[in-house]
Symmetry: C2
Subunit: 223 residues, 2 copies
């Protein structure tokens, strides 16, 4: 929860939460706020006060049984909730048996994580991680990652390509082979999206190679 910007934990019929116990032991920094601030409520309280989304690994195959169908995947849920202005509660069930049909039919939506058909049931903590990860754009104001990767300006990339061509000149690569090699280089670098530092470093290396080919390496020139 804390990794993805959530703070309000409501517990229905929980076991005792011992500050020296297992839940606190695994909670990381959430032991400072999320767990001590958790409130114990009745299931009815959720139904009556929130737009509720029940999470379950098992849906039904079609529309004939409606308690678990239709469902949304976590990514679809994030898109859908982006347009909703309402207190929303994501409801996870018990570690071993999840939510009962009786509980699911009282909730407003059903969410299910796509997983291996052979083994679709995630641990509770991992199911919560995936759902909250997908909801992060609604709940996390600022991530730890820089906004965008700082790709080199196009002129720097073109400068690198020019330097590569100059190296091919120095190597005497011409004609069809020249055009193929230039195209291969451009496509390879195009996929890699070099940063300014990468482009300038590599350009420097190629220039040194080219100049070495034309004029001899610095040590040779001196000698």
């Amino acid at each position: 929860m804390k990794n993805f910007g959530l703070s309000e934990l409501l517990l229905v019929d929980p076991p005792d939460l011992d500050p020296d116990g297992e839940a606190y032991g695994f909670a990381g920094h959430a032991r400072e706020d999320v767990l001590p601030n958790a409130r114990e409520v009745e299931f009815d309280h959720l139904v009556e006060n929130y737009h509720t989304v029940g999470c379950t690994a098992i849906t039904n195959d079609d529309h004939r049984r409606h308690v678990r169908y239709p469902f949304r995947t976590p990514a679809e849920l994030a898109d859908s909730l982006a347009g909703v202005s309402a207190g929303t509660c994501v409801v996870f069930g018990r570690e071993r048996v999840g939510l009962t049909n009786g509980e699911l039919e009282r909730l407003d939506e059903v969410c299910s994580i796509p997983a291996s058909a052979d083994y679709p049931v995630l641990n509770l903590g991992q199911a919560a991680t995936v759902v909250l990860y997908e909801l992060r754009e609604l709940t996390v104001e600022e991530t730890q990652l820089p906004e965008t990767i700082e790709r080199a300006p196009e002129r720097d990339v073109e400068g690198l390509h020019d330097q590569f061509s100059t190296l091919l000149d120095a190597l005497g690569v011409e004609g069809t082979q020249r055009r193929r090699t230039e195209r291969l280089w451009r496509r390879l670098l195009g996929r890699a999206h070099p940063t300014t530092r990468e482009a300038s470093t590599l350009r420097g290396i190629l220039r040194r190679a080219e100049e070495g080919l034309r004029h001899g390496l610095p040590g040779e020139r001196e000698g």
Copy 2:
């Protein structure tokens, strides 16, 4: 791993894996195959034999320090690896300290999960869950979820809209209010994407209401 279709676990300098111990206790069905089949290898073995992706919560803010930058998010990694035909190894670090800079600089790519800037460091098991969840389209042949949600055919949805209009007729709703109400209804149902069962059930309810309004409810007619 097993939830998302992966089976090959390589461990570098692991602690003892006791079949009665903690790792087995949390492993669910993976205790039947993934854990007993895990192989112990050297870090060098990964570098020399796989396309390697190192996972880390902390990137650098810009391109001047290059060990951890540039990075891909898990979703970008999935897109990128979709075009790669190579044995790929996703490398996670130690629970408390992750991968060292010395390790990261020997790996081919860096992946980082966007999370709260205030608390971006996930537990190892949760980081692995998010990354493998995002890679699922490359690793899971078939999920437990039906391919597509069976939305009602358009004619059934239109039939529901017609029935709603007929109810408005019966209620004597006309003019501007009529057009507004029909538009509101169409937009509400448009967002909900009703299934065949939902559309036919609701249409039946509206028809009963309309017929009751016109002719009296069945009990009243009898009486």
